[in-house]
């Protein structure tokens, strides 16, 4: 397979003024030359093949956006090489721009006051898309989403979901080799999220577009990515198949219990309290179970158990002695839990 993106020992430093406190401090800052260097990205390397969908994950402030900005050519790396589709992104931006598409979940590149179709036409002319290619692309779009509803509505009157959908279509319009999607499903409802995932999947398959996806929603990762790259504090923590990482945490199980029948019994506040309570009690009873973690997902209480530390059946027994359990499920470790473990340093 052809490598389309390659990053070699890429670092990016920012110079930031050391700010002082208070009025006096702020005044002194006006004349200060006291800068500190922040390593937003520290010596990262990776290679991505044509047609891959890669999940680029990391907590807030990990250096994700900085990497994306370097890959789109907006920022120049302090050191290291980025070569994408045979080009250096920050040099010759105009030509490079023909090969990439970008969606930032919270912003739009569409013309605010105009119907989406006008924006598409503008982009078609700007990227000099041939009439036939444009028509083919629009046909592909309309086979995946309900295009008529979108095209003739002014962008400012669209819902966030419709706007994101249009923005994704706009990013693919000139058939770029690489599309960067930065939190495309942020703030959307469940139905819209799955619609957008479906769309991304189809476009990737039809056009063999390489997609770099950053997100905090593990649903996106599960639905779209086979490979994930995890970055924190500017360095890459993990870069491999998502299934492989799950096997590292092979002794982890997620125990799911439901402690009520009706929605009233299962209201959010009660569950939140229950979750805190249970974690404290379990850790008290099983002092060895340090990685045990309790959380809640839609009326279910999830207990992440490492079976090296404590047997699953013991935990279940313990809960049953305290509470009436209405329903139980047992699952492999979820992607969400894996990622959280890695953020917390679970790979070391």
């Amino acid at each position: 397979m052809e490598k389309i993106i390659s990053l070699k020992n890429v670092s990016k430093e920012f110079k930031v003024l050391n700010r002082r406190e208070g009025l006096r401090g702020s005044f002194m800052d006006l004349f200060s030359r006291d800068y500190k260097i922040i390593n937003a990205v520290n010596n990262i390397s990776m290679e991505i093949e044509q047609g891959e969908i890669v999940g680029y994950l990391g907590p807030n402030g990990a250096g994700k956006s900085t990497t994306i900005k370097m890959m789109t050519g907006v920022l120049e790396p302090t050191s290291g090489d980025i070569i994408i589709d045979g080009r250096i992104p920050y040099k010759d931006r105009n030509k490079y721009a023909q090969n990439i598409g970008v969606v930032f979940g919270q912003r739009t590149q569409l013309w605010w006051a105009l119907p989406a179709i006008e924006s598409f036409k503008i982009l078609k002319d700007m990227y000099q898309v041939k009439d036939k290619d444009y028509k083919d692309m629009m046909d592909l779009f309309s086979s995946t989403v309900d295009l008529d509803k979108l095209l003739h509505k002014p962008v400012r009157q669209m819902s966030l979901g419709q706007r994101t959908l249009s923005d994704i279509l706009a990013a693919f319009l000139h058939n770029p080799k690489i599309v960067f999607l930065d939190e495309p499903t942020i703030g959307l409802d469940v139905a819209m999220k799955s619609k957008i995932r479906e769309l991304i999947k189809t476009l990737n398959k039809e056009k063999n577009t390489t997609i770099i996806l950053t997100t905090h929603d593990m649903g996106d990762v599960d639905a779209l990515c086979r490979r994930i790259v995890i970055i924190d504090k500017g360095t890459i923590l993990y870069d491999n198949d998502i299934e492989k990482i799950k096997s590292i945490f092979g002794n982890y199980r997620t125990l799911k219990v439901r402690l009520g029948k009706t929605s009233e019994e299962l209201n959010e506040e009660a569950i939140k309290k229950e979750v805190e309570d249970m974690e404290l009690k379990l850790k008290e009873v099983y002092p060895k179970a340090q990685t045990l973690h309790v959380s809640d997902v839609d009326e279910w209480i999830n207990i992440l158990v490492n079976e090296d530390e404590v047997e699953m059946i013991d935990v279940l027994n313990f809960i049953q002695r305290q509470r009436k359990i209405y329903d139980v499920r047992l699952e492999e470790i979820s992607t969400e839990s894996v990622i959280r473990k890695i953020y917390e340093g679970g790979l070391e």
Partner: protein
Amino acid sequence: MNTRKYLTLTRAGMIEALQFKGAIFSIIIGNLVYLIMIYFLWKAIFASVDTTTVNGMTFEDTMIYLVLASALFYFMEMYLVWEMGRDIQSGKIILDIIKPMKYPIFKFFQLSGNFIMFFFITFLPTFIVVYIVTYGAIHLDYNILFFLVSVLLGLLINYFIDFFIGTICLYTESIWGINIMKEVIVLLLSGATIPIVFFPEPLKTVVYYLPFQAIYNSPLRLLIDYSMPFSERIEILGIQLFWLIIMILVSGSFWKISLKRITINGG
């Protein structure tokens, strides 16, 4: 060169300008109020002196100059600094930087539709009214040609001055103060609020050596002063062209250098 790539942005800007009826009406009304104000102000100034001309301009000359200056202002004002400031603060500017054309060019063509619309909505009607009311005061001659070329040059100079100020936002991340300062300086030194012939002597000379007078004063003189010799007209255009080249070089390289050093918020 493929012009369609650029003109599509002009077209979009024109459609966009037509979407906002409210803005068009409020500009027309705001302009009217301003004109009434300067009418009475300058009437009082001319009433306070015994002669009919002040600094070689009659009351009628002054009014023609100021009315047309205000009409020019409304069509040349591009709010580019605000837009750049806002896009830098929100981080949206990234999406424009990665377009397949240079950012200064992209931004100019994006605004160009507005220029065209407002030329027809504000300047042209005002000009026709002034022409009819002061019948005979404005000569329609080949000076119109000089005027149109000069307006285009003035517009471009104004654009690149704005672009320079907008680029400063990359460093300050705040725009209010800088923009207010720029507006005051440009409006005063360009002769948009007071004709430059009224300036006291040392200042007048200084102003003629600055780029700002090439925005409003140059085209208006070419339009109104029909007795101006041909060589002087060419000279005015030459000076405008000189400033335009300087501003393109200065703003262009400032933008290029800045882009390398900046960080962009969020996303």
